[in-house]
Amino acid sequence: MHLVALYRRLVGTDTATVVEEERLSRNLKGMALNNVELERLGAELDEILDEVDRTSSTNVSLPPEMKPHV
């Protein structure tokens, strides 16, 4: 009886190990997707910064009448 219980515990822990490993695999895939999203956001942030630079460089150019006299 004791050996049967031991065998059942062994099988149960082995099954739990397999389940947890599959869960870990899914979580790692999710983390990989998140990393891809973060890389995409980083590229998007670079584009926004470039656009900000471009916009600020075009908006600052005032006409000669509006420029302050030094």
Partner: protein
């Protein structure tokens, strides 16, 4: 006859004793092996349970990190959309501001031209009036003649 029987009995006894000792040793070895197998199985069970516990903790940490990263990604995406919308608005406002500045410049030039013409007209009028009134003023400034 007696010697032969004794010799045979001795031989049988030795054989039986050998078998008993041999089986006893094998039995002890079998018991030791079974005990070792049981202990190793219990140890394997403990290691397996600890591994499952560690995997569960690791999965919980990874899931928590994944959730926080996903929330961060959502917030960053929303913030970037707002920044893009603000940049578009800023660009449109800049274009309208440039157009308004051009219009203001044109109006200021017209006002400047009008003001210049008004000033010139006023100066011409003032010069004309001054030239017209100068003799009169010179006459009026003379002292009155006596006995005239």
């Amino acid at each position: 006859m007696t010697l032969a029987a004794v010799t045979e009995a001795k031989s049988v006894t030795e054989t039986v004793a050998y078998i008993v000792v041999r089986d006893s040793v094998f039995g002890a070895l079998l018991v030791l092996a079974l005990t070792a197998l049981y202990l190793l199985t219990v140890q394997l069970l403990r290691i397996q349970e600890k591994r499952v516990t560690d995997l569960q903790k690791l999965n919980e940490r990874v899931e928590a990190r994944e959730d926080s990263t996903r929330r961060l990604v959502d917030k960053m995406t929303e913030a970037f959309q707002q920044v893009k919308s603000s940049l578009d608005t800023l660009s449109r406002v800049g274009e309208r501001q440039a157009e308004a500045t051009d219009g203001n410049t044109e109006v200021l030039r017209k006002v400047e031209g009008t003001l210049d013409s008004v000033i010139r007209e006023h100066a011409r009028t003032a010069a004309h009036v001054a030239g017209y009134r100068r003799p009169t003023l010179a006459v009026e400034s003379l002292p009155p003649k006596r006995g005239g």
